[in-house]
């Protein structure tokens, strides 16, 4: 006759149960400690986003036409006010998320939006300063042109400037230091 355990097949004796509970508690505390450490670390802002380069904080000195504005351009543009984010999945009947989690989420959203704005603004800033350099170079070139061959080269350069102005205007709207109007003189300033 088989000995039947008095506590049933799924139950354990008190000592064994105590051991299991102790081990489970140790494991649980390990998990909690690990999670607590994780929450103390700065979360990555955006897994797919490229971190902003330090160089983004340093903007190049402007062209000879506007040497005084170096530090102005280096200071960067003020960011537009960030919109509060609406976290998905938080319906009207859902319990509100913990305050610290909500703050972290909002902070992360702001960082992502700021980065996207920086990237978009940086492309137009780069296009505008390149257009300024192109505009001045074509202007100088035409100022030096004397022979018919040099006049032709001047016209070729102007055509490129007009085309570049169209592209920059269509994408960026305006540029602070150079005209994007197709028919403006070359150089425009």
């Amino acid at each position: 006759m088989k000995h039947r355990h008095p506590h049933g097949a799924g139950e354990l004796p008190a000592a064994s149960r105590l051991r299991v509970v102790v081990v489970a508690l140790l494991t649980g505390s390990g998990i909690v400690a690990c999670a607590a450490r994780k929450s103390g670390e700065p979360a990555p802002a955006h897994p797919g986003a490229e971190p902003p380069t330090a160089g983004a904080q340093y903007q190049a000195a402007p062209a000879p036409a506007a040497p005084q504005s170096t530090m102005d351009s280096m200071a960067g543009e003020p960011a537009p006010p960030a919109q509060p984010s609406t976290a998905p999945g938080h319906g009207p009947f859902a319990p509100p998320p913990p305050r610290s989690a909500a703050l972290r989420q909002a902070s992360s959203d702001i960082e992502i939006s700021q980065r996207e704005l920086d990237v978009a603004g940086g492309d137009c800033r780069n296009a505008c300063r390149a257009l300024g350099s192109m505009d001045r170079a074509a202007g100088r070139l035409c100022g030096l042109a004397q022979s018919s061959d040099e006049q032709r080269r001047c016209e070729d350069a102007k055509v490129r400037v007009y085309s570049a102005r169209d592209k920059v205007r269509n994408t960026c709207g305006t540029c602070p230091d150079v005209s994007v109007e197709r028919n403006a003189p070359v150089p425009s300033r």
Binding site: T27, R37, G55, Y58, A63, M74, L141
Partner: protein, 201 residues
């Protein structure tokens, strides 16, 4: 009781294994944090250099505002001679700062009639901007202006042939600027369009 011991042991073993796994995971995380911290120190070095660059540009602005061109030139010379972060390693941000500083230095020297010094500054700057970027285009723009000034000086000195050569060189350099900056614009706008498409998804 005896039959259940292996069950208890098994549960305990699993629990211990889990605890060990988490402990290892935590340690790995700590190691990563330490690595991140070391990276942060390196970034601080870069940030210090960028901050110094901003301060020196600001100083040059103030000197230029008071028509002290030698003072502004000295500020840029300090920047190009400043201790660079990541010794022995090329950092894009540092390269951009240096290319830009050499362009401003060359421009300041050109305004003071120091053509040779300006040409030397352009040459040094181009070493930091080998790719067709705005910075390279801007440096070549200054080089074109240096050649234009040289042509004018040679013409004034009664050397028409040499002046014509310098003028032709200036035209070629300025044509090069137009081409480079055209490429820069196309690339910048393409990148922006790609970003807009990505954002719309």
């Amino acid at each position: 009781m005896t039959r259940l011991r292996p069950v208890v042991r098994a549960i305990a073993a699993v629990a211990i294994a889990l605890a060990a796994t988490f402990a290892i995971g935590c340690r790995a995380r700590e190691n990563k944090s330490e690595q991140d911290s070391a990276q942060g120190i390196v970034d601080m070095e870069l940030m210090a250099f960028l901050s110094e660059a901003r301060a020196l540009h600001h100083q040059a602005n103030l000197k230029e505002e008071s028509n002290d061109l030698p003072g502004a030139t000295a500020a840029m010379q300090r920047l190009v001679s400043a201790r660079r972060p990541h010794a022995g390693k090329t950092t894009p941000e540092v390269e951009e700062v240096l290319a830009d500083a050499y362009a401003r230095l060359a421009e300041l020297q050109l305004r003071q009639g120091a053509l040779e010094a300006a040409a030397e500054a352009v040459k040094n700057g181009l070493a930091h901007a080998p790719e067709p970027t705005y910075f390279r285009g801007h440096l070549i723009e200054i080089e074109g202006l240096v050649e234009e000034a040289r042509a004018a000086g040679l013409a004034d000195a009664g050397k028409p042939e040499e002046a014509a050569l310098a003028r032709e060189k200036a035209i070629q350099l300025l044509e090069q600027v137009v081409r480079i900056q055209d490429q820069v614009i196309q690339r910048s706008l393409a990148a922006r369009d790609a970003g807009a498409t990505e954002g719309a998804r």
